[in-house]
Symmetry: C2
Subunit: 407 residues, 2 copies
């Protein structure tokens, strides 16, 4: 589905083989290695995304009450500015919880970039990811900004520059044809640690050349994020820096809403699944679908409870067919559940039917649990609510990575 | 505090050196090895707690919507019966999610025990802990019940019989003197995996010879559990079997409420801390105190968020002074927080003051993080709400244990 052509309503959605955040018309990107985090060596860690035409923008930010400085600055600017011209983003340092200098440093990053590319500094947004509580090394950033070369094919550099403990870059683009109109949406995301279903818990930059209205753009983003980034879990934590941003420069002309919405959702789900499967130390993607819930919200709560359960995640890591943990997770999710109606499948193998455990082929189930994608499905048989959530297994490697992140 | 004598109000609370669930007057216990879980070998796994005088009882149960059969049965009996005579409990099998036979098996356990000790079967409660989704081996239980010998000093056997992956038994008793009255409260608990602040997420049996009224007993239990078992976290999961039960046989005569409440709370906190420090794979107890919150509920939410954070737990395991994760956990807890008022201490060392990170002696902080008890304290400086929560570090061993539990 993600590589071929999908028809939704009257729109044809095609995933582009080398799609990036610069696939839509008029977007440029580039990155450099500023040496922000010593440990990262010469890794790309400072990137700029730029549109030759000013963009309408919409965003979702972390729900934390203690937000990082770049989040506070970008929130402010999205409110005060009509259009946005560029984003500057760094990895290796979160610019969070560093006191008053945080906002000043975020503002200076925007200023340095704005001056270099001829965009008013107030029209530049800022994002950061990395270690919390350490000030940005501004002298390194000042010395490096000018080295960034913006290019029409620079999207891949940006996707790599925002990685922290991610093991691969997450990016894609979709081309959409709907009647006479055609447009492209591109996206790049980073996740890995601190990813959980509680709003935009990651960095994601989405670009499009579709011409849209601001109100619609915000609504469409919320809807797409609810079905994608809010349905993944890695470790239950939420970062102070999370941001999902969409920029629309309108160069492709106006497009029907009912073509844009599903395309944006498909793009977000594609990126979300890659984030979920690349959790720190993860070896497997867990895909949990809950059907028959009383409503959509309950289906989502139940599906997320399963992929968030440490015990389910550890059992999947060991390919242990301990399905009771899946049932226990649904039971405590808050969703309405009747034991006598509960069905559970691992892959196509029925494990529980109407609340009664069934004898099953254990070696077949273990084989499924050892696959790259572990499909769990639950039918609550109570209503028509249905949802899918994605997570990863929990491995000893997760603990190793997170015991030594700072020191 | 836990070993000496504590004065609260007009009551003197003394922790008894060898205190158990049979320390209060009139309580008997005993256990046997029924071989319920093959892997456990000859471990004690079936126990009975009995009072020579019928007891008023109060309990808190799991909030899961999919409750295990013994929980359903015990809930029912607490409603229908005036008094309770005994409890039978097994480890090694949860008797959960096994379909219709679950309730029948739980009822038969109560019947077998009731007949053996001369208590009406309806006055016997049932509790189970262990693997989910596997039926109780009833033939083994039938063959073993008669082997249990009830003794006035049998509390220790019960505490050992309810252990699963616990590395030591958790039990204690307090003797309270208040004016002319004296009474004893005993308790035994098991926890380890699946422990989280969401009600009675463990098995805990509390006994007392104090004479109390049922309504007060339930209220006092709720209050004590909110300050103890609801303030600990090991892995964020909630079991279908969780139960905290208190039985009061009245043999010690009536006691003042304001002496019973703090004593019960002290006992529960003692047991809860031992549960938290003995999480699967845990090497350290994390004690987080949040002060200056807008109210008690927010202080509790913030303290629990810290001890529940996988990232904080992993950082403590690695003695990594990554304090930003503590701040991030408070930020997403839902509690009201102002960055400019936030103070954070590790032990007595100030790490953040009024939102500004302070230079600190890193080797001293690392030493604190390597201690058996890691004290974190936060002052939100917004109000007078204050609370303490307990958790443990997250080690690769946790993942190892939980990858192989069933197979």
């Amino acid at each position: 589905m993600e590589c071929g052509i999908v028809w939704i309503m009257a729109a044809e959605i095609e995933f582009l083989p080398q799609g990036t955040v610069t696939s839509p018309e008029g977007f440029f990107a580039g990155a450099t290695s500023a040496g922000i985090n010593k440990r990262a060596g010469s890794k790309l860690d400072l990137a700029v995304l730029f549109s030759e035409a000013p963009c309408l923008a919409a965003a979702l930010f972390t729900t934390s009450r203690l937000k990082a400085a770049p989040v506070l600055l970008s929130q402010q600017r999205l409110k005060s500015q009509e259009k946005i011209g560029a984003v500057v983003v760094n990895s290796g340092c979160a610019n969070a919880y560093v006191g008053a200098e945080g906002l000043a440093n975020a503002a200076e990053m925007a200023e340095l970039v704005g001056e270099g590319i001829g965009v008013p500094p107030e029209d530049v947004l800022v994002a950061s990811t990395g270690v919390i509580g350490v000030p940005l090394p501004m002298e390194k950033i000042r010395a490096s900004v000018d080295r960034i070369i913006l290019a029409r094919d620079g999207g891949g550099e940006l996707a790599r520059a925002i990685m922290t403990t991610d093991s691969f870059a997450k990016e894609t683009a979709v081309r959409v044809k709907a009647g006479n109109s055609q447009f492209t949406i591109g996206g790049a995301a980073k996740g890995s640690g601190m990813v959980h279903p509680d709003l935009a818990t990651l960095l994601c930059f989405i670009t499009t050349d579709a011409a849209l209205e601001k109100g619609f753009l915000q609504k469409a983003l919320k809807k797409a994020v609810d079905a994608s980034f809010n349905m993944i879990s890695i470790d239950g934590d939420t970062s102070p820096n999370d941001m999902v941003l969409v920029m629309a420069n309108g160069l492709g002309g106006s497009v029907p809403h009912d073509a844009f919405e599903p395309a944006l959702e498909q793009l977000c789900i594609y990126l979300a699944k890659r984030l979920a499967g690349d959790g720190e130390g993860a070896t497997r993607l867990i895909e949990t679908t809950v059907g028959g819930a009383v409503n959509l919200a309950q289906a989502r709560a139940a599906a997320r409870a399963v992929v968030s359960s440490s015990l389910v995640k550890a059992a999947v890591h060991g390919a242990d067919p301990n399905w009771g943990r899946i049932m226990a997770a649904v039971g405590r999710s808050g969703a309405e559940v009747k034991e006598s109606k509960f069905d559970l499948y691992i892959g196509q193998i029925a494990v529980v039917k109407s609340g009664e455990p069934l004898p099953f082929n254990e070696s077949a189930v273990i084989k499924l649990l050892k696959g790259k994608e572990v499909p769990l499905s639950i039918n609550l048989n109570l209503g028509s609510g249905s949802a899918t959530a994605w997570g990863c297994d929990l491995s000893p490697e997760y603990v190793n990575i997170n015991s030594q992140y700072m020191t």
